[in-house]
């Protein structure tokens, strides 16, 4: 071994040199990750205190960046959260692995306390300035403004330029970064995609944002209920390794091993002790104090626990958005035609509780792009209600989508690929322990169990959607048949009569016969349509499928307008014109078809005459 001096580095030093590992691998990603981290922190803080979040976001270019091909970008995120005490500010924004959420086993967005400090580091490295913070708690008379910088050598945050200011809100935090980056608005890694996704899985969020020189876009909340974040449950013994198990025991000091096992873990009861004994644990260990138990004895206990079959961990610690609220939120995706939403019961995958929620929506498009030539569907992925925007191909959610046979639901799909068409498939995975593939939390590891659970949810959503698509196909089929009769019958009879030099009498009889013949086909098609309509009606009544036109019609009758302006529209609604959009009322499809049938019948009669 070389005789070189061994030095220790601080966590901050490590991350400042490896920011690409936490989402700062390119100027474009730097802007998105900074915004994402700030919003995650705000939403977590609001939810912890039961506050309905109101966020205001501003992103603008303020000059040229110091790195080649970058701009100097100002990112500001303001929330109405509980605010931070000034002594916590340097820890939150300037110290790595300082978190209120680390290892708590809750479904919070942030987990380790790395992201926002990394954002401060990036800003500091590229613009030589840290994060500008304004904070005010309920108990503070005035807000405090300060600049936080990361002391990379010591992994500490330093406060600078601290002053009290008057702020027009009772509590909240405003964080502002100035950094080198590039702005991408649309597309998979775009800011607007991120904001739309965030709004979708946070129905209780009131969001206003101003990007570059565009007008302010407002997305109203569709739920007034702040989600209850379930408390963490004790860890399941089968998810632990021996070292963790022994370290965990130290929290229990003089308590007996029995108490340690019962209180320190879930799914261990007096009955399971008997099983442990059967599987080789010495019974006397149970009454022994934790302090006096040696590592070798712990190893015996641990071995016996792992030999024993235990109930799966509880799913109480996961939260769901719920089909009703999710349905309202889907309409915020844009001009949605119809959609279905599925919330699966929380379950256990790879010994971890997970809850899957799916929304599949068809967007209204200017052109008819459904078919084998249309582009792939848009996939929105969420892990603990945070949009995932990069490296989608390896993600469990995309893999699950690709394994479903969407063709059977009427959606075109090339083999082993994403389906095609103007659809959005949103997959939300909530779990206190999500297994990400990397520290920047961009891809969820595709374990077989998890992929299967997501797949089941997708199948349910697809089945629900297929009832509507089938109905549409049947309607189109009937329409096509009617059109065919109208167009081709006279031509066929005319041609035949010309070739055979038939009389007018024969021509008339043949026309009548042909109409009669093809009328039978139409009747059969009508029957199929009626059947499809019946199934569709049932599905709609049970809320399995939602048609947006009908909801809109309701809103004209005075009910609350649910659809906010679509943030992806180029002509975003200016602040002054934030009045709800007037919904166009369209006649229900079945009525239109009945009219078409009647009209065609009339035409046929005319021709016969």
């Amino acid at each position: 071994m070389a005789k070189q001096k061994i030095t220790s580095s601080s966590t901050a030093e490590y991350f400042s040199k490896n920011l690409q590992q936490v989402g700062f691998s390119s100027p474009t990603k730097a802007v998105l990750t900074t915004l994402k981290e700030a919003i995650d922190n705000s939403l977590d803080a609001c939810e912890d205190e039961g506050i309905l979040p109101e966020l205001y976001i501003e992103i603008e270019k303020v000059g040229a960046g110091t790195i080649k091909n970058t701009d100097l970008i100002r990112i500001k995120v303001e929330d109405n959260g509980p605010g931070l005490n000034i002594e916590d500010v340097p820890k939150v924004f300037g110290e790595y692995l300082a978190s209120s959420k680390f290892g708590r086993g809750r479904c919070s967005r942030g987990q380790q306390g790395i992201g926002i400090s990394a954002a401060t580091t990036w800003a500091q490295l590229t613009s030589a300035k840290g994060a500008r913070i304004i904070t005010k708690t309920k108990t503070m008379r005035q807000a405090v403004s300060c600049l936080v910088e990361v002391d990379v050598k010591n992994n500490k945050g330093n406060l600078k330029d601290k002053k009290t200011i008057s702020w027009d809100r009772s509590h909240g935090v405003s964080v502002e970064f100035v950094l080198d980056g590039r702005i991408q608005l649309q597309g998979e890694g775009g800011l607007i995609t991120y904001l739309t996704g965030t709004a979708l899985v946070n129905p209780h969020l009131n969001l206003r944002y101003k990007l570059l020189d565009q007008s302010v876009v407002k997305v109203d909340r569709v739920s007034d209920k702040c989600p209850d974040i379930p408390n963490a449950v004790e860890p399941h013994p089968h998810t632990m390794k021996l070292g963790e198990f022994i370290a965990h025991s130290h929290l229990f000091g003089k308590a007996t091993v029995a108490t340690f096992l019962k209180k320190g873990f879930s799914r261990i009861t007096d009955n399971t002790f008997q099983e442990f004994v059967k599987n080789g644990m010495d019974k006397k260990f149970l009454t022994q104090s934790v302090d006096k138990t040696t590592d070798a004895q712990f190893k015996d206990v641990f071995g016996a626990i792992h030999k024993t079959e235990l109930m799966s961990p509880s799913t109480r610690s996961v939260m769901i958005i719920g089909e009703e609220t999710f349905s309202k939120s889907v309409r915020r995706l844009g001009e949605v035609d119809f959609f279905s939403v599925v919330t699966r019961k929380p379950t256990i995958c790879d010994f971890k509780p997970v809850a899957i929620e799916i929304a599949v929506a068809r967007l209204k498009t200017a052109q008819k792009v459904e078919g084998d030539d249309s582009p792939p569907v848009q996939v929105l992925r969420f892990a603990n209600r945070v949009p995932l925007q990069f490296d989608k191909s390896a993600c469990a959610m995309v893999k699950a989508i690709e394994t479903v046979n969407w063709r059977s639901y009427g959606i075109p799909q090339p083999k082993n690929s994403l389906p095609l068409g103007p659809y959005v498939i949103a997959v939300s995975l909530v779990s206190p322990f999500i297994k990400f593939k990397n520290a920047s939390k961009e891809t969820v590891d595709a374990s077989d169990e998890l992929v299967e659970e997501i797949r089941r949810a997708l199948i349910q959503a697809g089945q629900r959607l297929s009832r509507h698509i089938k109905k549409e196909h049947r309607e189109a089929d009937l329409e096509e048949k009617l059109r065919h009769i109208e167009q081709f019958c006279p031509i066929l009879v005319d041609c035949l009569c010309r070739i055979t030099k038939a009389t007018e009498k024969r021509k008339k009889a043949a026309t009548e016969g042909l109409v009669k013949l093809l009328g039978r086909d139409v009747n059969a098609a009508k029957k199929e349509l009626d059947e499809a309509l019946k199934h569709h009606k049932e599905a709609h009544a049970k809320g399995k499928i939602q048609i947006v036109e009908k909801e809109k019609a309701k809103s004209e009758d005075g009910e609350e307008e649910l659809k906010p302006p679509h943030p992806e529209d180029s002509d975003v609604i200016p602040e002054a014109e934030e009045a709800p959009l007037k919904a166009k009322t369209e006649k229900p499809a079945s009525k239109a078809k009945k009219k078409a049938v009647a009209k065609s019948k009339e035409k046929m009669k005319e021709k016969e005459v």
Binding site: K481, H484, I485, Q487, F488, C489, P490, I491, L492, V493, C495, L496, C497, R498, I499, T500, A502, R506, A509, A510, T511, E512, G513, L514, K516, L517, L518, D521, V522, A525
Partner: protein, 379 residues
């Protein structure tokens, strides 16, 4: 088929359809199913013949468009037969476009592209069990350029006149056989020993320029790839009227064997109804044979499996061994053995490789061919 048969058949068909309609019965159009699964091969007959399978098109809402289009095109074809006009498929496509343009009521029949009108013309042929030439619809005469110093062709012209062509008077220019070889009669001025069909038109040209026809009492013709109706009908004519042995000389690869040679010898599944007039069952495969590679130390090379076309040909070859009645028949065991060899060794050898045997002798390939014929070294 007699000239007045098609109009009569058509009128009968239309009358039947009209009567069905008057009685509110669904008219049914039936055509022979032209596909490999409906192909039979009897070595005594020598070409692929249709089985019993029929394609039935019953009039319903889904098929009314196809039927209307078929009757619409039939009307145009009948007009052509009546006036004696002829057209190619592409011309018929434009004629139909013109009809639609001048009569807006016909707009629903409009063809999006030529493939749509082509399939309707094929459907009519299958329904009437006739050649498209019987419907005055001709393809351009492609391939089959023929050279001989002994052959005399007499063509019956549409006006009943006769035209006599002595091929020896054409110099190095070829005679171009017609797509409707039924109007040609062949005669040999002097005894003709054999007929050689060369896959490559260019190589056939080289042979002629180097004096093949001067040295041999033979007919030489270039197939120009997959044989057209003209080539197929012409070979059949040579076989039947001159009764000379015909040898095919082409590449040693799966494509040549299945798509070119099989079509020449036994017709194709797509043309089941006209194979009787458009195949020459006596034609023999002279080479390149697998054993020639060793015998003459020919330059061959491996099949590029990443080449889509070659990979497809190999896949087709393995399918042919399983499903093609021609290759499955005992009589053609020699040919199926070559296919097996190609599949196993994944190598190919081109006809021009005979030039490697003696690069300084321009007539070396001719010598090898004659030697092979003499020795009976063919399949």
């Amino acid at each position: 088929m007699r000239e007045d048969t098609i109009p009569k058949l058509s009128k009968d068909l239309c009358n039947r359809m009209l009567t069905d309609l008057e009685n509110a019965r669904r008219p049914v159009l039936e055509a022979i199913k032209c596909s490999l699964d409906n192909s039979n091969y009897n070595p005594k007959v020598g070409y692929l013949t249709p089985g019993n399978k029929m394609v039935r098109s019953e009039l319903n809402v889904a098929s009314v468009q196809k039927m209307s289009r078929a009757i619409f095109i039939l009307e145009i074809l009948l007009r052509n037969i009546e006036t004696g006009a002829v057209n190619t498929k592409r011309e018929l496509y434009y004629i139909s476009k013109g009809e639609v343009k001048h009569n807006p009521e016909l707009r629903p029949l409009d063809f999006g592209d030529q493939s749509e009108s082509d399939s309707i013309i094929d459907f009519i042929c299958e329904m009437m069990e006739c050649y498209r030439e019987d419907l005055n619809c001709y393809a351009n005469d492609r391939g089959g350029q023929t050279y001989s110093n002994q052959l005399v062709v007499t063509e019956t012209l549409p006006d009943g006149g006769k035209a006599v062509v002595d091929l020896s008077t054409l110099g190095t220019s070829p005679f171009q056989p017609k797509n409707r070889p039924q109007s040609l009669a062949l005669k040999a001025k002097k005894k003709i020993d054999f007929c050689l069909v060369v896959e490559s038109e260019g190589t056939a040209n080289t042979f002629v320029t180097n004096g093949f026809c001067r040295r041999n009492n033979a007919i030489l013709l270039g197939a120009q790839g997959v044989p057209s109706n003209a080539v197929r009908g012409w070979c059949k004519l040579i076989q039947d009227q001159l009764k000379v042995p015909i040898y095919f000389f082409g590449d040693l690869d799966a494509y040549t064997l299945q798509n070119i040679f099989r079509t020449l010898k036994a017709g194709s599944a797509a043309s089941l109804i006209r194979n009787s007039d458009f195949s020459a069952p006596d034609v023999r495969f002279l080479g390149v044979l697998p054993e020639d590679i060793k015998k003459y130390d020919l330059a061959d090379y491996p099949v590029k499996e990443n080449d889509l076309q070659e990979a497809r040909a190999l896949k087709k070859a393995s399918d042919a061994l399983k499903n093609d009645p021609f290759f499955k028949d005992k009589k053609n065991k020699g040919l199926s053995k070559i296919l097996e060899w190609l599949l196993k060794n994944k190598r190919r050898c081109e006809q021009q490789s005979y030039f490697t045997v003696d690069p300084r002798d321009p007539i070396m390939p001719e010598k090898i061919i004659l030697e092979k014929i003499k020795r009976g070294d063919f399949i």
